[in-house]
């Protein structure tokens, strides 16, 4: 191996080391951010459509905080058909077929008041 070739290989090795270091730092930072976001997301109440995964086999607890998942673990597919929020009937409140009229007298059949 002559000197220019040796120099070239040294530079290549140095480049690989730098790339490796940068990649490692990036992976480490990415992993850390993933962990932070994982914890933050776990502390928020789950949306109705997403609440099934951690809750499917967990015991009932008296708070809204979901169990903190391990960030690097991908949640398994749902084992059950989870009820996701479905828009219920959006038929507007219906007015009466005929408006109430003032009574012309007689004994009332009942009273509508607070109970």
């Amino acid at each position: 191996m002559n000197r220019p070739e040796h120099h070239h290989l040294r530079r290549r090795a140095e480049g690989r080391r730098r790339v490796g270091a940068a990649t490692g730092w990036t992976a480490a930072v990415g992993g850390g951010l993933a962990a932070v976001f994982g914890v933050l997301l776990a502390q928020t109440a789950p949306a109705a459509s997403a609440a099934v995964a951690p809750a499917a086999s967990a015991p009932a607890e008296p708070d809204l905080v979901a169990p903190v998942p391990v960030p690097s673990v991908v949640p398994p597919p749902l084992a059950t058909t989870a009820p996701h929020r479905t828009h219920t009937s959006t038929i507007p409140l219906q007015p009466p077929a005929a408006a109430p009229q003032l009574s012309s007298g007689g004994r009332s059949h009942g009273v509508s008041g607070a109970s």
């Binding site: 609440a51 607890e61 809204l64 009820p83 479905t86 219920t88 409140l93 003032l102 008041g113």
Partner: protein
Amino acid sequence: MTEVRDRPRCDRPARDRVELHVWGTTAVLIVTDPAALPAAERVLLRQLAAVDAACSRFRTDSEISRLHDLAGSPVRVGPVLAEALTVSLRAAQLTNGVVDPTVGNAVEALGYAMDFASLAPDGPAPVDPPRPAPGWWRVGWDPTTGEVLLPRGVRLDLGATAKALAADRIAQQAAADGGCGVLVNLGGDVRVAGPAPEGGWRLGVGDDHTAEETDVVVTIDAGGLATSGTARRRWRRGGRELHHIVDPRTGDVPDSPWRTATVAAASCVDANTASTAAIVMGEHAPVWLEQCGLPARLVDLHDRVLTTPGWPGEGT
């Protein structure tokens, strides 16, 4: 002798109504054909029992209590709770969450954690400050499968709609079975079905459904009439007057200008949804009710009456 003995019995007016005490209030059923009363009474008792078994948060063996216990897991519910959930979620959606079934914890935090008859009229202030309701949209509900997913920690209170739903179910079924007119009044939540008596069903309207005197008497031929107000189901905690209507946005009793709101609608559920919403909405209620096309009568804390178009006779 037989004729003499029987004559008074024949002259006595046939019984056309049943009245009983239920859910801390009164239930009244009236039929236009007395012959239909026994069957109608059976419908009344059966439906009250069914709604209670499904929706009572005071019973440990009710379906809704089981739902609370299994919060976090999908639960398949029976047809009565399914209908009650559908009705309550629709009410929440149509009122932008002003009438929200997820107020269970808020209502209990204010002290209403047991049947009202067992509730102490006075007591210390709640330990925790009021918290907004989690929100009806958190309730996972698939009406096609009957499966509901309640997030852990969320408790439902279907009180704003379940009683009215019971009135609707009883009146409709009793009228269909008996082929006559039926009025059902569950603590002021009124539903009529079938052919009305001559002149219509006469209903007094006031603050209190047990009052002898009412502010006004109206007639209806069909649909529902409901009144929500702060005059009944009151208690004190920490020297503060509380009542059973909760604002889901705060988890506290609403600071409403209205003492009483009465609404007429096609069903008792719709009437009661609107009357409860009106109390919580406060000053925005008249415009909202008018936009919904619902005849309504609102009484403010200074006894002033405001009505919406369609309500008879009283000025705005």
